[in-house]
Amino acid sequence: AQSVTQLDSQVPVFEEAPVELRCNYSSSVSVYLFWYVQYPNQGLQLLLKYLSGSTLVKGINGFEAEFNKSQTSFHLRKPSVHISDTAEYFCAVIALSSGSARQLTFGSGTQLTVLP
């Protein structure tokens, strides 16, 4: 079985400041890694994903994340946040076990609030 831990449930940050949202995972098999964002009253939207290759992945809206296999982490970063980045962010994994199961295992979410 796999699990995902998002270490911060709430992250307040001032506009134009950098931000890092932390995510650690545990799995006995290889995983694919994802960050999703949920804006108020909307569904989950994919920010970025790591499947293979370069460990630094860039996503939409200026976000990026780095896969660190030794630390089993996939932290999300943005160098300068905007008010519009206020949302809840979810880290998730898909375990690459045998069979075709492809369900996502999610962390508990991090509420990012950007302050003016």
């Binding site: 994919l46 994903k49 369900q103």
Partner: protein, 113 residues
């Protein structure tokens, strides 16, 4: 192209009543998933359809929950009878076969009083 749609957006029912949630996936997506988020906890997997077949229903909490996907298009999730602990947001997602990204709907917020 239309995204994943879910109906209703909100439902408030009393304990013991029945509720049916509907999900319309993106056209052509054979994979359809149901997830649930209860009271600010993790979003948890409920089940996975491939076309009209249940591929994995290991996340279904109990036999009060029944999911169907007749004809391999839209899916319904019925809760009968509803209990207080069923309150939460139910998400549906879809994807093409062999595709790793899942496309989510806006969710249905279910409140059981």
């Amino acid at each position: 192209e239309a995204g994943v749609t879910q109906f209703p957006s909100h439902s408030v029912i009393e304990k013991g009543q029945t509720v049916t949630l509907r999900c319309d996936p993106i056209s052509g997506h054979d994979n359809l998933y149901w997830y649930r988020r209860v009271m600010g906890k993790e979003i948890k997997f409920l089940l996975h359809f491939v076309k009209e077949s249940k591929q994995d229903e290991s996340g279904m909490p109990n036999n009060r929950f029944l999911a169907e996907r007749t004809g391999g298009t839209y899916s319904t999730l019925k809760v009968q009878p509803a209990e207080l602990e069923d309150s939460g947001v139910y998400f549906c997602a879809s994807s093409p076969l062999g595709y790793n990204e899942q496309f989510f709907g806006p969710g249905t917020r279910l409140t059981v009083l």
